[in-house]
Symmetry: D2
Subunit: 157 residues, 4 copies
């Protein structure tokens, strides 16, 4: 978005150093909407992907069999610049808040090589028992892994 003034109080895109874990995600032809850029909905699909891929990679989630699964109870995004197929996207991930049974992930989406995020958002997972779907406390292993992804001084998006 144009026209930013020096004393502007609008939110500003975060930098790459504010994120801990990066994944390269490819875009798809149909991600671009009638305006020729990545549709806003796709950003959330990339958030969901970045979060769950990291959980699976860390051994914290097996979508088919783990006792606890993470359900999204809140999410949000601020859009700063256009992204679009065919360019790939780098998704940066950090953890912003670790609750009793919940965790807040923050995600920055970057054009390849860019230092400033094109979009920043968050996803809050409540971990629930797979069968009852009632909140279940985070395990010690989860807390440990989540703590490794926190970033001191990160402004929550």
């Amino acid at each position: 978005m144009p026209d930013s003034q020096p004393n502007d109080d609008r939110p500003r895109p975060g930098a790459r150093r504010m994120y801990r874990h990066f994944q390269v995600l490819t875009t798809r032809w149909m991600d671009n909407d009638a305006y020729g850029h990545l549709n806003n909905v796709i950003y959330y699909s990339l958030f969901d992907t970045a979060v769950n891929a990291w959980l699976i990679e860390q051994g914290l989630l097996d979508p088919e069999s783990s006792a606890q699964i993470g359900l999204v109870v809140e999410s949000g995004c601020r859009f700063y610049a256009e992204l679009g197929f065919p360019r790939p996207i780098e998704a940066g991930l950090r953890i912003a808040r670790i609750g009793k049974s919940s965790v807040r992930y923050e995600i920055g989406l970057f054009s390849a090589g860019a230092d400033q995020a094109a979009a920043e958002g968050f996803v809050v997972h409540v971990f629930v028992d797979r069968a009852s779907r009632r909140p279940a406390p985070l395990t010690a292993e989860m807390r440990l892994r989540f703590a490794e992804l926190t970033v001191p001084g990160a402004d929550n998006v």
Copy 2:
């Protein structure tokens, strides 16, 4: 989500009367994810659909030719209850804030017949000139139509 206590300060789902304009949206097989319910990303697709369908119906937007188009600069959602294919969804729409070139829509998604929203979210559009993609003031016609969709007393989601 379970376990709500009487004095709980968690956000609560809004009622149907807090929304002005309703559309029935069908769900799709692939909307359901590995957990067997509507994936969180799909909610945003329904928001986007409810907003743009209303704009088009009101004559405020022609995706191919209107001088101004609405670009999403921020959005968010709180998820209260599961939705899922094959059940259709009712999307309620209201307008919460009318700026110089921007507008905040709030959307509630309801199971057919339910009084309480299963999810509530918002989308902020900045209207821009189609070619330059720079913010352009809302037209008088837009302001008039947007005003008709405001709901006194609506708690902003």
Copy 3:
């Protein structure tokens, strides 16, 4: 597509009377791609939706618990005319072939009120045991319901 000649041997769109069961499906903003019309991939999502909604409605499938589930082993589509958001689509369904453990559905997608299909396609389901994922014979109930959706004289698409 333009330029069809009288003696042309290209496939031609089928008529509404060649389908048995109709469902109205809503379209979404993000269904339209960079060319401003319904992306070709979405047609398959509507096929999948029409087929599974009918199976569920007939009591032949419960996605979470039925002993047999239908897996897609082949599909295809011919595209005759553009469709696009915000217009809803009518999906016509018929059954073209009933095998030992498989069934071929044929689907026509129609603009509201149109007599000629905008697209026609097929989906072949092999019904498998949910746990082993090995082919399992169609039940008598399935055969009965499938037979009701056949259309004598339908040209297979």
Copy 4:
């Protein structure tokens, strides 16, 4: 799919050597459907992506400005084995038929490192004039590039 017999006449998955150009495509959480595997519709999104990414890379298509654009008039797929998030997919591409204004692409989707395709499909593009949307002959440059992607002896899928 199980139970293949030696003399079986069912179609068999092709090998990697039958494809010319390979791209690695990442999968997404929401690609997996209620059965926990990549939904059949997503395969077509990967086809569309592999084809258009190659066209753009070769300089044969600029989605926003090139005089000719490729519209899908037919497509199809055979599904041999499950794919699923979080595993990436390799898409192999070849050209099977070059017409006056049309081209048939064939695509194989492979699990990372696998020699046999998990799915094989095709997409037929008719190239049309962007404005009139009427068929326009392939350019000499297109014919040259398409010819480089043909594979002698490839069984058309």
